[in-house]
Symmetry: C2
Subunit: 387 residues, 2 copies
């Protein structure tokens, strides 16, 4: 209760009046330093996925840690970061043939990596872009979303051969930049050991795909993989050339539930005003709904959870406040449930106009809901926004 009240007072002192996304910069920088250190130790290039934050301000913290390349997930996001001086970007989603003019414009301004998992798209890119670009082949190492299945040797060789041929018609160095994968199955596991096992399997499968191509006389060069759970659970990243995790900069309740971060690593949260208190049903209502937190939820035995409360002290974000869960969202409302006797007692002290700090389930989607963030020391961080 003390923590709840103290957090509310501090948020009010920060000038929060309505739902706002706050970032604990110290935690974010510590998370960046951990991953930059692991990359350096393994001789792996860190190419963080900027879709999590989409902010030039946060990107500058990466640059200060020695990172000079990044991953993005749309042409618009790439253009935003090129505009902020990023000169080496990989668009890690199968290229969209309809956006070739945008890719070509990007390729004229930055080192651009594009990825494909079909010969048709490779041919379209090679025919359509006038400026040089790096062509990556996307491999499905078990996630089952996009990419050529890692052990489907026939398709792999066929698409790679056609891709090289397509590039050859337009490039003095006709070769693939490398093989790229997203080990997204690491999100399905329970516990850090499972995530580390996914990391190892993804790396091994990517290496196997490269061997398949090498044996067929096709040079595939670099191996690039990226997913936060796998890389967070593995301290030794060797065997890869490039690491593309993104979420680790802020982490979230999903990563916490997977056991790959600590509560004290959570670096972004949504401050929300309390607009109603309902002691009879053990709940308060927040003006903070799906348009602020996103609709992604954590499955728990008692039902979905859309957020938990964090404490805030003079030193920054603190531990999670036990006993509080956001159990339902509508467009603008968030239902905050007091789940323990202590929380139900503390609920009686809540008033409309108090503020709480909600740790999101999925930081990437929550960040997407805001046009800018604010650090605890009051620095505004605008971000890229799609039209």
């Amino acid at each position: 209760m003390n923590d709840l009240a103290a957090t509310s007072r501090r948020l009010r002192d920060l000038g929060v009046r309505r739902a706002e996304l706050l970032i604990d910069r110290r935690r974010a920088e510590a998370n960046i330093a951990t991953f930059a250190g692991r990359a350096a130790a393994a001789g792996v290039a860190l190419r963080p996925h900027f879709k999590t934050h989409q902010s030039a301000g946060v990107a500058a913290w990466f640059r200060a840690a020695g990172v000079d390349r990044a991953t993005v997930s749309s042409a618009g996001m790439a253009a935003y970061f090129v505009g902020h001086g990023w000169g080496d970007l990989t668009l890690a989603i199968p290229a969209n043939p309809l956006e070739i003019p945008a890719y070509d414009e990007l390729a004229s301004r930055t080192r651009l990596g594009l990825c494909v998992d079909s010969a048709a798209t490779a041919a379209a890119l090679a025919a359509g872009l006038r400026h040089p670009f790096a062509l990556w082949l996307e491999i499905d190492t078990g996630h089952g979303r996009t990419g050529i299945v890692w052990d489907d040797a026939d398709t792999l060789i066929d698409v790679a051969r056609q891709a090289v041929r397509a590039v050859a018609a337009h490039s003095p160095v006709p070769r693939l930049a490398g093989l790229l994968t997203h080990g997204g199955q690491s999100y399905r596991g329970a516990g850090p050991a499972a995530a580390a096992a996914v990391f190892a399997e993804v790396r091994d499968r990517l290496q196997a795909s490269r061997r398949t191509l090498t044996q067929a006389g096709i040079a595939a060069n670099l191996l690039s993989a990226g997913d936060t759970p796998g890389f967070a659970a593995s301290s030794d990243w060797s065997g890869l050339d490039e690491a593309r995790p993104g979420n680790f900069v802020f982490y979230d309740l999903m990563q916490l539930a997977a056991g790959v971060c600590r509560p004290t690593d959570l670096a972004c949260a949504v401050a929300c005003p309390v607009i109603g208190v309902y002691p009879a049903r053990g709940e308060a209502m927040l003006h903070g709904g799906a348009v602020h937190l996103s609709y992604e939820s954590l499955a728990t035995p008692a039902g979905p959870v859309f957020g938990r409360l964090l404490g805030l002290t003079a030193d920054g974000f603190a531990e999670l406040l036990p006993g509080w869960e956001v159990t339902a969202l509508s467009q603008e409302h968030g239902r905050l449930a007091a789940q323990t006797p202590a929380a139900r007692t503390a609920l009686n002290g809540l008033q409309p106009g108090d503020l709480v700090l909600v740790a999101p389930v999925h930081a990437c989607l929550t960040c997407e809901q805001f046009g800018s963030y604010r650090t605890l020391d009051g620095v505004e961080l605008p971000r890229y926004r799609r039209d």
Copy 2:
């Protein structure tokens, strides 16, 4: 397959290159006309909730249908519509005491309705606003989200009395504007009969709350209710003074599943490029994910559904294309599954660079993901965006 290919060609002709939200204006205007007609027939004022579209351009279609008042869900959204000439707005979410300066500014520029369900917030508003405003008491008629429980006479009379007293200190006409409710439980039912039953129950309970206050000597004046399923399933709205549904302008798969609209009423959809085709698993991948569609899903026996495909003809949106479902989303990817033999055959004709039209599960949250929309005749419709 024919429809799939024809839709892709038409979307390409419209100039769609990446995920974009399209609106069939003719359908939206027909939906508006239906609701404006029911309101007029019952002598009920239509005060549509603009949180669904948040666009001055769409709001203008309402104005053309004779609507001169609206509902919003945040002070920022209110300011946007005041800036576009809307002079009568109700903020239908319990007022946030921290935003009193913003409310006062709004009240200086428009007829502003605010709602409360606690004496503390009523007192804070009355003390804090210098400009006149309409104070609504929010009633919980069964939704269980916000509001005073409709048959909790003691609380109702107590809060109403304190609210009137608070207003009295600042107004020559010390009275409540009325009782306001959101019959959101209509979203839980199955079928139009259930939604119509919720409508009737909500109206009856709201009337009962007013009688309780009247008997205690407190004038509560108007009765305002709003939820699309209930109002869509009920052709006779009499017994209320004001109707505040919002979603009906576009409808969506959730309303369709509830049986309160037809496929031919669906008026917004997201055009998405195909970026991968995977016949072996009967799927294609769209560059259209949670950041485009939102993460809200429809529960089906086979698992969650995040969207279905619509056809597009020269006349506008057509029927749903059978056999296609968006079965998973990540941040930017949407997994499109071919669920019938015919769809699996058609899948073989799909290529990266083709386009599909995805009907969203929840239009309000999908619209929230875009900075602007486009009508099928090429008119750009910008919308309000939170910072």
